[in-house]
Symmetry: C2
Subunit: 275 residues, 2 copies
């Protein structure tokens, strides 16, 4: 539980970029095949490294960086080993070149233009979210279907009508879009974005999008996150009740073990009950 869950967790598997010509010839040193799980952690390492750099550090041990990023050090070392070697044995990692390498891998050298569709409640907040700007992205366009919102300025950007998507996505060379529309509109808007040339979508609408293979979709569903926590709350209270009942059962179990009526090592069994 100390190892914090980070948005998308289960279900993904596999190595990024499997069968391509470079698989035949060995992957490029400047663009290694990374396990998807590793990719998902790199941004967290990057954030931690920036923080360390700001607080005056030049190097950091795997132990130290792991602590700052909320993972264990073995995992961190394995992850970083996929990027090539940026550490010095007996010392640790040089922060600056490591930051550079992670930013390069994540494609953050150039600031990426992002379109945001749906400036309702949530979309409006996302349009103003400072974290996007400070961590490599530029909101290059805002869209909404509602004509009464078109023209509104948010953070200095004018909201345009979704009919302008094809034109603007092309002229601004936008490849990433954030979808914050109502659920009912999401699929149609996503189709338009993809038709216009968008190849990655961050979807906040609570629907599963049906899109071509080559489009990357990540989904953030705020209610889902709470429901997962709710499960754990439910479990904690159920276990609490269990535990209480188990205390009573403990005596029974001990007697049963003594009679040899329960399988397994009596010591281990009792140990577990006690724990």
């Amino acid at each position: 539980m100390s190892q914090q869950r980070t948005g998308h967790e289960a279900g993904i598997t596999g190595r990024v970029g499997a069968v391509t010509p470079s698989a035949v010839l060995g992957s490029q040193p400047d663009f290694p095949d990374l396990p998807e799980a590793t990719v998902a952690r790199l941004p967290e390492y990057l954030r931690a490294l920036h923080h360390l750099a700001e607080t005056g550090h030049d190097t950091v041990s795997s132990e130290g960086l792991a602590l700052a990023a909320g993972v264990n050090s073995a995992k961190l070392r394995k992850d970083l080993s996929h990027l090539g070697s940026y550490g010095t044995r007996g010392v640790g990692y040089d922060i600056e070149p490591l930051v550079g390498q992670i930013e390069y891998i994540l494609g953050l050298n150039k600031r990426r233009a992002v379109a945001l569709v749906g400036v309702g409640n949530l979309g409006h907040a996302l349009a103003g979210y400072a974290g996007f700007a400070s961590r490599g992205f530029r909101i290059a366009a805002l869209f909404d279907a509602d004509l009464t919102r078109v023209g509104e300025l948010i953070n200095g950007i004018a909201v345009r009508h979704i009919g302008d998507i094809p034109e603007v996505v092309k002229s601004e060379a936008i490849s990433i879009a954030v979808l914050a529309t109502p659920a009912g509109a999401a699929q149609a808007v996503a189709d338009q974005l993809v038709a216009a040339g968008v190849t990655s979508i961050l979807n906040f609408a609570p629907v599963v999008l049906n899109l071509p293979e080559q489009v990357d979709v990540r989904k953030v569903d705020l209610a889902v996150e709470l429901q997962i926590l709710s499960f754990h709350e439910h479990r904690k209270s159920a276990r609490g009740a269990e535990q209480a009942k188990a205390v009573a059962r403990g005596a029974e179990l001990a007697k049963a073990v003594a009679r040899g009526a329960v399988n397994g090592s009596p010591a281990a069994t009792l140990g577990e009950v006690a724990a």
Copy 2:
């Protein structure tokens, strides 16, 4: 890529509720041990089932539900099999009892009270997010450190000062909190929430929280999501370039194979280059 990524993805492992007395005696039929990966998908199944019910369905096949939830049918069947049997061979699943069972497991029978801390840009939007209310949660309290915001009404709820956390969390019996504070304040606020009795936190601040074992933390970092997409964009363009170069190399490779200078089955190797 068709299999959509859902927030938290990698890093978590293990079965929920491992060593407890009930592990010795076998887990309770009404509260099975579920793989964490399964738990993370249940909310998605639930959403899909509600949608199906609203559109007039009584039953659904594993294939149909899997499609609606964005997973494959084998995974869906395995997941549902952990809940006990709610399907009929040759027919499919009865939607109504299945909805009931998933809601029960997720602890959504009773509407859970949630506290939200930090009513800035993002927090304000979250406080108004209709999805929380419609999917099992009630925002029971809003807090902020900024005294000029205290008293402000958002969606009919007054913002209170974070100093009131202990009192309100107790009186409202709140166990889940949403953290939407600036990064710098998050750890201190989280400590206060936990001290007041909160045992699950959904953290939107870009920091790793350090909290006791028994507190569940999920993290949603919006910039991280975009950075993961950015990686895939970077990879796609790198592969594009690779592919172009590989076409040129193709001729070379074919010659090399003909000369017997490359290992492996020539047919397979050429097949991969062609693909």
